[in-house]
């Protein structure tokens, strides 16, 4: 060890004082030569002879000096700097080559770095909470509904909180929008309705004031609220005396007890302005706390240190079994599951991001193959230079090292430009990224991402550097020197390598193109799917009623009736309705139901359907057809018999081969659960959850019989959306000036936004595929045009011997097509192996879609033909006289 250190120390000194050492050694060798020569003279040689003999005896001076320098310097670094300087000189001398290589690499590295920065921020970086690894989302689930998690009722949650030994703390959360008054214009604030454990569970300290205590969650406790820092700053002007003062939510006073720092965001990571109130204080959910039915409370728990997932699941199984035994009506068939909180946040974006990461990886591979090809081409024209170096005594290792240094320099340059591209790309990505991608952490090029880019460029330069280096060092000196730098002597091996690289590029590009093609076809199917309703010219607006003032259903009905009457009286706005929830735009409500006279045959067979409460004109506004029976009308009021409309899917599933009209269903939504309603009609199916999800059973109720605390409007009008919005605001103001109108939007925009994630990934993958196609095209162009220039002589002879131009063109094009076909032949199995990764990103299309495969094959062949055509044309126009003289 010590020995090593000493040697390294003196080597470092040697590196620093290199020039002086060189000088010293030169003198020493000179004196050695003189002494040798002296002796030779003593033996009777002439001075000239003596000196020549001395030189031979001592050995090659240049080599000795080189060895000496290497021994003195640090083993890799010094020659590397020397090589790097040389490499830079070479690159400057070939600006065209350098530009193409650096740009190609930069594109690859930049794209990879940008996507990796997203993957890192969203998937890899832990959530911004203390000990985030211990945080889990706990949900109840029906076995037949294994894909989605569902929430809890409060009594079930309380049971879990009491009985479990695995969580140090659990918290239940629901979101709500409350109206804030008394601070200028009435506004709607995002409110999280929570059990008091929230802040202690997340180990968060308040910026000012206190967090919630257990007592805040008890019935009868004073109403308290905690603000987020941004809300406090933006709405309350950072009032230092805010703690202890009162604010008005839904026109009821809440005492501010704390302000949380801006960095704490929960349950929505993108939400910066919000407030938190105890569940018991919420005008809606507070009244649900005694009901065991329903699944509306999202539960997060912090697992105790040392508790394994298996232990946790075992205990949750026990608890769910207990619940099912004690309260079978509400809990039979439900199980409790748990997933890391991070997975809950990123859910469906994970696979899409990984596919994108794989895609950019392929782009980089293609870029590397391209550069390796360029380098191989160049290595041929450099073979003479290398032969000279070898003749002068450079060892094989030394030559390889020099070539690798050159590619390393190339790699670093490409990496540097790539990182610059990545900075720009990350900005572009962030602005393109749909809001539905959970931005768990800010997406940016930070140190780890930079390190990734550097490692990537090092790996890439090793990848494209080794191939030509391996060939270059094998070349035969005498052959190369004798060839006199002619370019006709490319070795068969090297030609095979170049062709293989080009074919591999085509194969890789094929994988990407097929993936992009599948996504595009799936996206076009998704956007052209009939949702079952028509939102052309439909505008939506939300009116939320303060619930302490408007606290009873009759008040809600009175408000929405008056509002609808006023709006429908406006010119051009006759087609207006209220509905909760709107399909796709608002999410969905799923409720259990029973068929009167037909109890379920088994406990596990649950009957659920999506639920919507609508005013009579809703179906006309949204263009949903009536299949049998009647629509709702103005006589369906609370005092009239309770009625419902069902969807075609519900009718077919639960009333096969019978007329459902006249049958009765029991279901209900607060404040009127478990009401038996007569089916008066069957309406067409709608995709209410998402465009990609098949329509499920659906039941509608008249708004007047099951109102909500507000009015979610849909207005179909030929007026401009802003005119509609103004009219709505005006009418609402006339009824109650303290009620805000929010979230005015065009329905088609919202439907559009619901597929923004799919559009985003389709766009990106399409972009990467286009890059891959361009790179592969350039690759083929390079190989063929090089081959043409090597064969100029041969072509000249052929033309001179009478070959037609057309025959020459065909010959070169055939060469190209063979290359392309080889690429496709490699590509097809790769595609088949890779396509299943896309499986669940696709809609309405199989991963082995033959049309996509055929189209992609055709595109690639066409691009290859085009890339081959340009050099082929050059070959065709070769003048035999010049060609024959061509070296």
């Amino acid at each position: 060890m010590w020995k090593r250190l000493r040697s390294i120390y003196s080597r470092i000194v040697g590196t620093i004082s290199g020039r002086q050492l060189d000088q010293d050694f030169k003198q020493e060798l000179e004196s050695h030569l003189v002494m040798l020569a002296d002796e030779n003279i003593r033996r009777g040689m002439t001075p000239d002879e003596a000196e020549r003999a001395a030189r031979i005896r001592l050995g090659g001076l240049a080599q000795l000096k080189e060895t000496n320098r290497e021994l003195h310097g640090l083993p890799i670094i010094e020659p590397f700097f020397q090589d790097a300087r040389y490499a830079l000189r070479m690159l400057r001398k070939n600006p065209g080559f350098t530009a193409v290589a650096v740009l190609t690499l930069a594109l690859g590295i930049g794209a990879n770095t940008a996507i990796f920065s997203v993957v890192y921020a969203v998937l890899l970086k832990p959530l911004p909470y203390a000990n985030a690894g211990q945080l889990f989302f706990v949900f109840q689930q029906l076995p037949q509904d294994a894909k989605s998690g569902t929430g809890w009722s409060y009594p079930n949650f309380a049971e879990l909180r009491e009985q479990n030994h695995i969580f140090s703390e659990v918290v239940g959360v629901q979101n709500h929008q409350l109206t804030l008054t008394g601070q200028g214009e009435p506004s709607v604030v995002n409110t999280s309705v929570v059990t008091p454990e929230l802040f202690s569970l997340f180990e968060e300290k308040p910026l000012a004031g206190r967090i919630f205590f257990t007592d805040d969650g008890k019935r009868g406790a004073p109403a308290v609220v905690i603000l987020s820092e941004n809300l406090w700053r933006n709405t309350f002007g950072a009032d230092p005396k805010i703690i202890g003062s009162s604010i008005y939510l839904d026109q009821r006073a809440f005492t501010v007890v704390g302000v949380m720092p801006a960095k704490f965001r929960f349950p929505v990571l993108t939400e910066s302005e919000q407030l938190w109130i105890p569940l018991v204080q919420d005008p809606l959910f507070g009244s649900w706390m005694n009901r065991r039915a329903g699944h509306w409370l999202g539960v997060t728990g912090r697992l105790k240190p040392g508790v394994s997932l298996k232990q946790a699941q075992a205990e949750l199984d026990t608890i769910s079994a207990g619940l099912a035994k004690e309260f079978p009506a509400e809990n039979a068939g439900w199980t409790i599951r748990i997933m890391p909180l991070q997975d809950r946040f990123v859910s469906d974006i994970r696979s899409a991001l990984l596919v994108l990461l794989g895609a950019v990886g392929l782009v980089l591979l293609i870029a590397c193959a391209n550069i390796a090809n360029l380098l191989l081409t160049r290595a041929v024209s450099r073979s003479k230079e290398i032969a000279v170096r070898t003749a002068l005594g450079a060892g094989r290792g030394r030559i390889i090292r020099q070539l690798l240094s050159e590619t390393a320099v190339l790699g670093l340059l490409g990496g540097a430009v790539g990182i610059a591209l990545a900075y720009w790309g990350v900005q572009a990505l962030s602005s393109l990224m749909p809001a539905t991608v959970p931005q768990v952490n800010a997406i940016r090029v930070d140190n780890l991402v930079l390190a990734f880019a550097l490692v990537l460029s090092a790996l890439a330069s090793a990848a494209f550097g080794l191939v030509p280096a391996a060939f270059a060092s094998k070349s035969n000196i005498q052959m190369s020197l004798r060839e006199g730098g002619s370019r006709s002597g490319e070795s068969a091996n090297r030609r095979r390598a170049r062709r293989f690289l080009a074919a591999a590029e085509i194969a890789l590009a094929m994988v990407l193109l097929v993936a992009a093609g599948l996504l595009m076809r799936s996206f076009s199917k998704l956007t052209s799917v009939g949702p079952g309703f028509d939102t052309q010219q439909v505008v939506k607006a939300d009116i939320s009623l303060p619930q302490f003032q408007y606290s009873t259903p009759p008040q809600w009905t009175a408000f929405s009736d008056e509002l609808l009457a006023r709006i429908q009286a406006q010119p051009g706005m006759k087609d207006s309705a209220v509905v909760t929830p709107r399909p796709i735009a608002d999410g969905f409500i799923n409720l259990g139901f029973d068929i009167v006279g037909h109890p379920p045959t088994s406990q596990a067979e649950s009957r659920t359907a999506d639920y919507a409460s609508v005013s009579p004109d809703y179906f006309r506004v949204m263009g949903i057809p009536l299949l049998s029976g009647r629509f709702f009308n103005r006589q369906d009021i609370p005092s009239a018999p309770p009625v419902t409309l069902i969807s075609k899917a519900l009718a077919q599933r639960y009333f096969p081969n019978q007329d459902p009209v006249g049958k009765r269903l029991t279901f209900g939504f607060p404040p009127a659960p478990g009401i038996a309603r007569e089916i008066v009609g069957v309406a067409g199916d709608v995709r209410d959850v998402s465009l990609g999800q098949d329509p499920g059973p659906m039941m509608y109720v008249p708004y007047a019989q099951a109102p909500f605390w507000g009015a979610n409007l849909v207005v179909k009008s030929t007026l401009s959306p802003s005119a509609v919005a103004t009219a709505i605001r005006h009418e609402v103001q006339k009824i109650d000036k303290d009620v805000p109108v929010t979230d005015v939007a065009k329905m088609p925009d919202l439907i559009d936004a619901s597929v923004s994630q799919q559009r985003f990934r389709t766009f990106l993958l399409g972009l990467f595929a286009a890059m891959a196609l361009a790179l592969a095209g350039i690759g083929i162009f390079g190989v063929i045009s090089y081959s043409v220039s090597c064969r100029t002589n041969e072509i000249g002879i052929r033309v001179a011997l009478g070959a037609s131009r057309r025959a020459i063109l065909g010959m070169i094009l055939r060469e190209t097509l063979v290359l392309a076909l080889a690429g496709l032949a490699i590509g097809v199995p790769c595609v088949l192996a890779a396509a299943h990764l896309l499986g669940h990103l696709l809609f309405g299309i199989s991963v082995n879609d033959p049309i996509t495969l055929a189209v992609v094959g055709f595109i690639l062949a066409a691009v290859a033909a085009l890339a081959g055509f340009l050099p082929a044309r050059r070959a065709m126009l070769v003048d035999p006289m010049i060609a024959l003289r061509h070296e």
Binding site: D24, S31, H32, M35, L36, R57, T67, L71
Partner: protein
């Protein structure tokens, strides 16, 4: 990429140079090369330059030291001499060498007897 073969040869040359310096006292590169040739009866046909690599290695280990001086013919030359650690190292290496050459000798002898 250093093969063990060249390591042994290098080490052997280093050992010979060190031994020469111990036996002869301070000597310049030419002197060392001449001395090695004489002793080996020209059997060791190396370029004289090769010993300089050896000298650099020995210097880096501080087993020898170097300074400029004047040769017999009054020419400027760099003189190398063995240091204290160099002597220690030499003693250790010699012992090691004897052990190894003994073992090799026995093995080769064995092979010859078969």
């Amino acid at each position: 990429m250093g093969s063990s073969k060249s390591d042994i040869l290098q080490g052997t040359l280093d050992l010979m140079v060190l031994k020469t310096l111990e036996a002869m006292g301070p000597l310049h590169g030419y002197g060392i090369a001449r001395r090695l040739e004489q002793i080996s009866d020209q059997l060791l046909a190396i370029n004289q330059g090769t010993i300089y690599a050896s000298l650099v290695r020995l210097l880096q280990q501080r087993w020898i030291s170097a300074e400029w001086g004047a040769s017999e013919n009054n020419r400027k030359a760099k003189f190398y001499s063995i240091t204290k650690t160099g002597r220690k190292q030499l003693a250790a290496e010699e012992e090691n060498w004897e052990k190894i050459s003994g073992v090799i000798g026995r093995i080769l002898g064995l092979a010859a007897r078969r």
